[in-house]
């Protein structure tokens, strides 16, 4: 399948919605995540996915949907965890530009995130803030 072109920062406007990104987190990926963060919580031994693993995948989807200039810094993050996700569940992440501010040479960008299960049931929502040169 051909990849969608990434939209450049200059073309982003408030209200712009990135293409929805559909994904699942399989058992191997969740295991890799748990090894990476060295999390041995018993909560995740019965097919539950850590919410930050879901969030991480949604953040990676941002990078696939838009192109930020070199020097962009991820400065702030909000997340709300609304429901659990199980290994193999189908998820879709939605991302929308909610704030874009130009102050001289400094630019600020905020993206709203919403990761949903079927029937648009939100499981993780958030706001990601960048400062760009």
């Amino acid at each position: 399948m051909a990849e969608s072109p990434r939209i450049a920062f200059a073309q982003l406007v408030i209200g712009y919605e990135l293409p929805p990104n559909r994904f699942t987190l399989d058992g191997a990926t969740v295991l890799t995540y748990l090894r990476a963060v060295e999390d041995e919580s018993s909560l995740y031994q019965d097919s539950l996915v850590p919410p930050m693993a879901v969030a991480a995948r949604a953040m990676a989807a941002l990078g696939e949907g838009m192109s930020l200039p070199a020097g962009a810094i991820h400065v702030s993050q909000e997340f709300e965890f609304l429901g659990t996700v199980k290994v193999g569940e189908n998820l879709t992440s939605y991302a929308k530009v909610s704030r874009k501010v130009d102050r001289g040479k400094i630019h600020m960008l905020t993206i709203d995130l919403d990761v949903c299960k079927a029937e648009r049931q939100s499981v993780v929502t958030g706001k990601t803030g960048f400062i760009l040169p």
Partner: protein
């Protein structure tokens, strides 16, 4: 933790983590974020950062783990965080996650516990600062 055991001003049990390049590489695989600043030491040495840094989201995962350790599954279905990334974490850094309860809002059936949280390195430098909230039954 049960609501009856929580008090405003109370510190939560700290979590300590050693940032390893191997962990960063695994995180890149799991998240799909292969930015070379995290995983390519040759590339990273040529940048103003002078070496690889951990994904900010990896350190934020430590914070989520800290909250899960304190509040269990309640964090997974009723937790929220609002943080600022203050400094990068590098391989070899020892990160300590700490936090204290700043406010408990009593509501019918469910209460909201507000916390001030901090991830700092071995030099005492803040890596992440912010606030969390979690709903607790009772």
């Amino acid at each position: 933790m049960q609501l009856a055991n929580l008090n405003e001003g109370m510190s939560l049990p700290e979590l300590r983590k050693l940032v390893r390049q191997e962990s960063i590489n695994l995180y890149a695989q799991a998240s799909g974020d292969f930015n070379p600043i995290h995983i390519d030491e040759g590339f990273a040495r040529q940048t103003p950062l002078g070496g690889t840094i951990a994904h900010g989201m990896l350190v934020l995962a430590y914070l989520s783990q800290f909250m899960t350790a304190a509040f269990g599954q309640g964090w997974l279905t009723g937790g929220s965080l609002n943080v600022r990334f203050k400094a990068p974490a590098r391989p070899g850094d020892n990160i300590t996650v700490s936090g204290k309860i700043t406010k408990i809002e009593q509501e019918a059936g469910t209460s909201t516990v507000h916390c001030e949280v901090l991830c700092q390195n071995q030099k005492g430098e803040a890596v992440i600062t912010g606030e969390t909230k979690v709903k607790v039954k009772g």
